[in-house]
């Protein structure tokens, strides 16, 4: 029932507090939100339909554009599904390189998330640091793959090419540069009392609620559940690598950002272990002529742990040179469409951007 004091507010992409092409319609009373409705669709490009018109290999430049911030996990999940349907093996060295690339992109994505969150709450200095450090990682990607944002590097049967000479030292150098700034980040942002007051008890979600609403990734781990696909269903080389799954108990925005912070440190450990253990050898297995490549009939569901949570792909082949049906399960989908709506109820207008960014919603991933 609408009361007389109720107003409808449109919180859209043109709003300063909104990051990304996404909008929320808010029903407010005073500055309290009564109900919120998420409206995605600003970036709907129909990729899943377009992919049905293109050959298996031609789809790679499309897949990475689904998630602008972390394209590598998209490539990985598509390559994994194609490999599973076609029965292609991946050499061990390629798997190590994949792990390194995935973790570097997780770092880049988390730093981007920190930029968005710090910027939102007015910690401009921290935001600049995070953006600068992300740029250093993009430089690494440029050297490795030729592209800064979209890499198209992970390929069915391996990776496109071997790592260049001296790349390892450059990566370690960059990671040391970023790692040496952790105390500064902590002092200025993560342990900052202003940030604590702004983020504590905001957007709180319990473990049961998170499970019921289909949460994964940092949002689920911030409620205390140790659920990480890298551990429970390992892909690439994650079963050979020793790492922790950071969790927090409270389930609020502050816990979520701390899970992200701890994950970044774990990513650095994973990359260092990969470089240590990486054997010599081939980096790709040859695939058939891509113009005539037909994949046998079948279907599969594969998933990876992207920086935001479970990223899955349901892929159906009917024995042709093109996929019959592609459907991505992106982690932001339940986070942005259900959990966000639930958390915004009874919150204040000033916290809308705060809650949304703490949920780590990336609009292009929802729309596809």
């Amino acid at each position: 029932m609408k009361t007389e004091r109720e107003l409808e507010l449109y919180f859209g992409p043109q709003h300063l507090g909104m990051v990304g092409n996404f909008s929320i319609t808010l029903q407010v009373e005073g500055d309290k939100i009564v109900k919120a409705f998420a409206n995605p669709g600003y970036l709907h490009r129909g990729f899943e339909k377009l992919m049905e018109y293109r050959t298996w290999i031609q789809n790679f430049p499309m897949v990475c554009r689904i998630n602008v911030i972390e394209p590598d996990s998209m490539e990985m999940v598509y390559a994994m599904a194609v490999e599973k349907l076609a029965g292609i093996e991946v050499p061990e060295r390629a798997n190590y390189i994949r792990t390194i690339v995935l973790e570097l992109s997780r770092l880049a994505s988390h730093l981007f998330g920190c930029w968005a969150y710090a910027n939102m709450l007015g910690f401009d200095t921290v935001a600049q640091w995070a953006m600068y450090h992300r740029d250093l990682l993009l430089d690494l990607f440029e050297e490795l793959t030729g592209g800064r944002v979209y890499h198209i590097y992970i390929w069915p049967g391996g990776v496109r090419r071997d790592i260049p000479k001296g790349f390892k030292d450059k990566v370690l150098n960059t990671l040391h540069t970023i790692g040496s700034c952790i105390p500064d980040y902590d002092a200025a942002f993560f342990n900052n009392r202003l940030f604590y007051k702004r983020a504590k008890n905001i957007g709180k979600i319990t473990k049961e609620q998170a499970k019921r609403l289909g949460a994964t990734g940092p949002i689920l781990r911030a409620t205390g559940l140790k659920h990480d696909i890298r551990k429970i269903d390992p892909y690439a080389m994650y079963d050979k690598i020793d790492f922790e799954v950071p969790t927090r108990e409270d389930g609020d925005a502050y816990s979520r950002i701390w899970v992200v912070r701890d994950e970044m440190i774990q990513s650095v450990h994973i990359i260092m272990q990969c470089f240590e253990k990486m054997p010599e050898g081939e980096v790709f297995n040859r695939i058939p002529n891509p113009f005539k490549w037909k994949i046998p009939k079948g279907e599969t569901y594969v998933r990876v742990e992207s920086s935001r949570g479970e990223l899955g792909l349901y892929l159906v082949s009917n024995g042709e040179d093109k996929p019959y049906r592609v459907h991505f399960r992106t982690p932001s989908y339940p986070h942005g469409l259900i959990i966000l709506e639930k958390l915004l109820e009874k919150a204040s207008i000033a916290d809308v951007g705060n809650i949304m960014i703490s949920l780590y919603v990336v609009a292009p991933e929802i729309d596809r």
Partner: protein, 183 residues
């Protein structure tokens, strides 16, 4: 280096798991008649069910710890004149975390409708909305079957196989005159 890691007891673990999956298969074939199951990998089970059984089977798996609905998808099998709805379930618990249940059911392509599963899995809401919009399937009992991504109605819902993207683009965008032509 790999030997220095704590041994996760791989062989034993997997053996136990496969047996558990067998138990599940036995239980489900006993409980529901007309269920066809295939195992594509050690941890992935595909179940073809009749459309009337779907809600009960989802409840059956939810009671047995498959409490995470990963995805609801739809495939348009135009040649046989059917839509196939796919429910992918997995678990939040550690021992079942690796397993997947892919539950599939077929509904006729003409006047397609199905029951909503929101009362079992709350996060089904946007998935069903998306399938309604892109495939034109009506979910009975769904509280808001409004537009999710698109802004207008299409004659043929755009993700169906008989919707031709190229023809649509030609038809729709060639009607819009160039800026120069307007003068």
């Amino acid at each position: 280096m790999a030997t220095s890691l704590p041994d996760r007891g791989k062989g034993k673990y997997i053996e136990g798991k496969v047996k558990k999956m067998d138990k599940l298969i036995k239980e489900i074939t006993l409980a529901f008649k007309g269920v066809k199951e295939t195992t594509i990998e050690a941890d992935k089970l595909i179940i073809n069910a009749k459309k009337d059984d779907v809600l009960d089977i989802l409840n059956f798996f939810k009671e047995r710890g498959y409490d995470h609905l990963s995805l609801i998808s739809c495939v348009d099998w135009i040649e046989s004149g059917q839509f196939e709805l796919i429910y992918i379930l997995s678990s939040y618990s550690e021992q079942n975390g690796k397993k997947h249940i892919i539950l599939k059911t077929k509904i006729p392509r003409k006047n397609p409708k199905f029951k909503t599963v929101i009362q079992i899995f709350e996060n089904a809401e946007p998935y069903e909305r998306e399938i309604h919009e892109l495939f034109g399937i009506n979910f009975e009992g769904h509280p808001r079957l409004t537009h999710l991504f698109l802004e207008r109605n299409y004659k043929i819902p755009p993700f169906r196989k008989d919707f031709n993207t190229r023809e649509y683009v030609k038809e729709f965008f060639e009607k819009i005159p160039f800026v120069e032509d307007k003068k």
